[in-house]
Symmetry: C2
Subunit: 335 residues, 2 copies
Amino acid sequence: MAVTIYKIAEKAGVSSSTVARVLRGDLKESWKGTSERAARIRQIAEEMGYQPNLRARAFSRGKTHGIALLYTNDAWIFEGVNSQVVNSFVRALRAQGYHLVFVPVDSDGEWEEIVRGGQVDGCMMLQRMPKSVNDVLKETGLPIVVLGDNADPALPHVTVDDFGGAFSATKHLLSLGHQRVGLFVHSTIKPHCSVEQRRAGYESALDEANLESQLFWRVSENEVVDVLIRAEKRPTALLCYSDLEATMIVHAMWKYGIKIPDELSVVGFNDSFATRHMTPPLTSVAYDAEKLGEIGADLLFKQMSAPSFSVDQPAAIQINQKLNVRGSTGPAHLK
Amino acid sequence: MAVTIYKIAEKAGVSSSTVARVLRGDLKESWKGTSERAARIRQIAEEMGYQPNLRARAFSRGKTHGIALLYTNDAWIFEGVNSQVVNSFVRALRAQGYHLVFVPVDSDGEWEEIVRGGQVDGCMMLQRMPKSVNDVLKETGLPIVVLGDNADPALPHVTVDDFGGAFSATKHLLSLGHQRVGLFVHSTIKPHCSVEQRRAGYESALDEANLESQLFWRVSENEVVDVLIRAEKRPTALLCYSDLEATMIVHAMWKYGIKIPDELSVVGFNDSFATRHMTPPLTSVAYDAEKLGEIGADLLFKQMSAPSFSVDQPAAIQINQKLNVRGSTGPAHLK
DNA sequence: ATGAAAGCGCTAACAG
DNA sequence: CTGTTAGCGCTTTCAT
């Protein structure tokens, strides 16, 4: 049988509340006699190997200190930069005594029990959820934060300035003299706000320069490569939706003997580890993943401390992107 | 105020125990009158939007249905194949009504409160933990499973046959006529059992063939590349600790115009997604990550159902590796 | 099969 | 500051 505050109280000859208060540090201990007794209680607790029962505490307080990470797609949460976001989010939670609970959203509805049954005190999402899921979440009134998507503006969210990122990346290419700049989004990319935003930023920059866009929209890498190696008016620069696309292209270009950046400039997104070690290192647009996680956690904590928060006006925060210029982009050499 | 079994009991004119039993399905409902009443209770619960309070249940039952994923290193749990293991582990837990809780093991000792305070019913680890951590875990008596490492044989674990994997990969290279086969382990690789096992498998295969090993042990890729492009007796085949090393090497070879597999055969480990799409696709040794996660969950559940399980004899399970031969390995062309 | 009642261990409101 | 007391909502005896 585990050690409880009652056992300690008995041994110390005080009431259980006193023990609880002392061990929780809820006491000023101003007077000398008090602090001596407190010390004795702590000592006894230590000796008996007391450990607060977190289940009882959760029950009594009505809080588990758990935050759900809701996700519908296995791989997504681990993909590239997302894992960094999750890591920093976990750290931020931990700093406040909270922990992350993995909750895959499947058809069997177990996620709903967890969310409705008070197994967690809040929810985080890294992707857009079906409307039915959002509805349930709103019903529960739990604090919520969505990272990297704003499909449902009624949910507090932190997004990334993908428009700005794509815009400045395109500008960078234009400033290098490129006249034909393509945008490549692979067919496997799931729809979420950053796709559209990046496209808009890209097109906007081209518009300003009175140049035409050249979209490779939701196609396989082969279709892009075909154009890059054969077409008369092939792009001399390619903005890729992510570093994954960029990597595919760079590989293919090597294979066909097309030099980067001399014959093709390539820009990626997310600045993943591997691409910094490519030859040449990849120019890439990226945001501060750590920061995204931290801000997300903050937003959650704000809601927890101010119940009316999310009702009044859902928060919408946006963080910047930065263009990291490396070796994969260079001046245009037009034929 | 949330709907409780008492509210339902009142409305249905029965006792709370009956409600609890009906809703939990603890009833045979053999007699007609009984089953009718049960139906009515269910109906009322439904109408009132009853949702069992999981905190109360956890408190009462003494189980949270949470399993901790303990880890000391951020990136590790998300790296390559590990994410697949975690995913399948989560699915297996979920199938039994359990969920995964992220518990970073840091110096502040919060992990200890979680583990000792009964916030979780069991623990999983994907890497070796400091002895002090293992000791605490043993003390709690919680079910435990370690995936991919067996540093502490007293802990139930599931490992991968890295010896066999490296052995058969090396055999494959030898059968292609290679006489100088190197092994490359990058300097960033953390020590764990697979490193040693792969080395042993590699050396064992070479021993059998009376060939000398050529180790690139915990070095940077540049040191390996230097040898590969310059050395007189350079290896004609290279076994890499993981696909990451293999990718680095393949890139570098491209850069220096060394053809793969004609001038160098390369084998990786883990068969990660990206390397299947390399040019040429990478020959790689891999295990079934899904299976590892499932077996791990099984092992945990076995311990939960049989309290004496882990005391009697800690379980040690090993799963096979498979060599996936692709384009990056070919016949040796000795100069 | 059902109901009454006693926990589970901690928190919090209330008197003293 | 301390002790008493009443929950928190469900599970689990133990009678009936």
